[in-house]
């Protein structure tokens, strides 16, 4: 799908911060606000804009800490549907954050979020491993998140270190 400059510019703004008002967007792009709203609607309808998630650092909140595991899953693809059906059986679980089909030594990369180590382990052994055609799983627990979806979690690049008035 080929997009217009206006559409690309709107995506550039939204990708950085989706809370910018449509009025401010319109002013930045020399468009009317109505036009901006229509364009966004179109991008949403076409699933170019898939969703507007908020990145939350749950681990800072007492009682809300989570355990994240990345699981390499080897599967036997099925005739006719390849990996899609197995992938669906996995991504339907709400505790599964992401599922990717990968090239290389395993097939599906699954990210899982749970409250405790036990919870994650239980899901892997009781649910994931028992799915037909899953040959093996290798579970990696995440120890620390430095950067997520392009956002540095603990950086200080964001602080303005400039003087307040300069020539």
């Amino acid at each position: 799908m080929k997009l217009s400059n206006d559409e690309l510019n709107i995506l550039a703004i939204l990708e950085e911060n989706h809370r910018v008002s449509t009025e401010a967007m319109a002013m930045q792009l020399n468009m009317t606000e109505d036009n901006v709203q229509k364009t966004i609607k179109k991008l949403e309808d076409n699933k170019i804009i898939v969703s507007y998630p908020t990145l939350i650092d749950w681990n800072q909140i007492e009682g809300k800490e989570t355990v994240v595991a990345m699981i390499d899953v080897k599967v036997t693809p099925q005739r006719g549907v390849g990996f899609d059906e197995i992938a669906e059986r996995i991504y339907r679980y709400p505790e599964v954050n992401s599922v990717y089909l990968m090239s290389g030594t395993y097939d599906l990369s699954v990210t899982l979020e749970g409250k405790t180590l036990q919870e994650v382990s239980k899901f892997v052994s009781n649910k994931l491993s028992t799915i037909d055609n899953v040959i093996s799983t290798t579970t990696h627990f995440m120890l620390k998140r430095y950067k997520h979806d392009g956002v540095i979690i603990e950086g200080n690049d964001e602080d303005d270190k400039r003087m307040v008035v300069t020539p």
Binding site: A12, A24, M27, L29, M163, V164, V165, T166, P167
Partner: protein, 390 residues
């Protein structure tokens, strides 16, 4: 015993006009919760690949002097870059100097061409240091005022009218700080004719060249007949978000560059070695980041022009840099009154236009190199301020 220092100090230095920005900085810096539109530098931190290369350079021990004109490898990259972006060729061997900021390039240029009493034309409103640098080089700055009616563009007639038999050179800054005005190819060509007719040198400060939005950018050095009489100044500060690195460069005919290298070896020796290594990386591998920053400024420019016009501060559409220069004349306040009352009442810092020369009176410089949220907040406060004046 207390000394009367005045009698020991340089009269030339004492007589230099104090920077109008300095005064304002002290006031704004002492306040909490200021939203600043007064910052003359990018809000981006230098792209990581460049910073990483500086770290590598330090780890690898690049801590010695370099050739006076800078690392040949860097000059070669500058030569490639200037060719690629501005379509002019300079020989890295003898036509390029890497300086400590573009400011030092300007200083070198004046020192190399000015004889006592020579006049240098400066198109105003202009960056604060040009006139003082001319004076320090023993010359006489002659300002040419430009006006908003003409988009702050200097005309050939205005230049013609300012020329005397003492005129040696003209300094042009495009895109301009503080007005954001960008001269297109046709306008430069017309100006070039006068410069050639009167056999002047042209110093062209193109530090904001990467931040040109509408018609693209044309370098004065690329205009026919100008190459041999142009000192082209550029650097890494604005386009590559490297202000604090202090890295600039100039390119010019080799006869001029040779003389400038001689001055440079006595005053500075060379730009910092490790930073020059990182600058090579900047020129080789930062095109995407530079483009990303330009697009971001372009969007904010559009926002600012509309927002200012909406609250009744008329401004022309600046073609480059990250400044808007709206008129505040209808408020009846002077630039300084406007800026200082705005700061006191609403804690928004802008720079009074008269800091950039007399023709800046009646205007303020608003930098939009800050987040859109900050710009929105600033506009809200400014609107309230303007309403309070009614």
């Amino acid at each position: 015993m207390s000394m009367d220092y005045e009698q020991y100090l340089s009269k030339t230095a004492i007589d230099l006009k104090p920077s109008g920005i300095r005064k304002f900085f002290d006031l704004a810096a002492s306040m909490e919760g200021v939203v600043s539109l007064g910052v003359g530098e990018p809000d981006f931190v230098t792209p990581w690949n460049i910073r990483d290369e500086a770290i590598n350079a330090l780890q690898d021990g690049y801590t010695s002097y370099t050739a006076n004109a800078g690392l040949l490898e860097l000059r070669q990259e500058i030569s490639n870059y200037v060719q690629r972006r501005f379509n002019v060729h300079y020989d890295p061997e003898n036509q390029i100097i890497v300086t400590v900021g573009a400011s030092q390039s300007i200083d070198l240029a004046f020192r190399a061409i000015v004889n006592p009493g020579d006049e240098v034309l400066i198109v105003e409103p202009a960056f604060v240091s040009y006139a003082s640098l001319v004076i320090l080089a023993g010359g006489v700055p002659v300002s040419i005022s430009t006006y908003s009616e003409n988009g702050f563009k200097v005309t050939p007639d205005q230049i013609e009218a300012a020329i005397t038999d003492k005129t040696k050179a003209i300094l042009i800054c495009t895109p301009n700080n503080p007005t954001g005005t960008c001269l297109n190819k046709e306008e430069l060509t017309e100006i070039a004719k006068v410069i050639q007719k009167h056999d002047l040198i042209c110093i062209t400060d193109e530090i904001y060249a990467e931040l040109s939005y509408d018609d693209g950018f044309t370098s004065m050095a690329s205009i026919p007949g100008m190459y041999e009489r142009t000192i082209l100044i550029n650097g890494f500060s604005k386009g590559f978000a490297m202000t604090g690195w202090r890295l600039g460069f100039l390119s010019a005919p080799k006869e001029m560059v040779g003389l400038m290298v001689k001055i440079y070896q006595y005053t500075t020796m060379c730009a910092p070695h490790m930073l020059q290594r990182a600058a090579i990386e900047a020129l080789q591998n930062s095109t995407d980041q530079v483009e990303h920053m330009r697009e971001s400024y372009w969007r904010r420019r559009n926002y600012m022009v509309q927002a200012l016009n909406n609250i009744g501060l008329d401004c022309h559409i600046p073609g480059g840099a990250f400044y808007v220069f709206p008129s505040i004349k209808h408020t009846g306040l002077t630039s300084e009154e406007f800026a200082s009352q705005l700061l006191q009442q609403e804690k928004v810092a802008v720079v009074p236009g008269n800091a950039f020369g007399e023709s800046g009176e009646g205007y303020i410089r608003c930098s939009y190199a800050t987040s859109i949220e900050q710009l929105q907040e600033a506009m809200k406060r400014m609107e309230r301020f303007i309403d309070s004046l009614k």
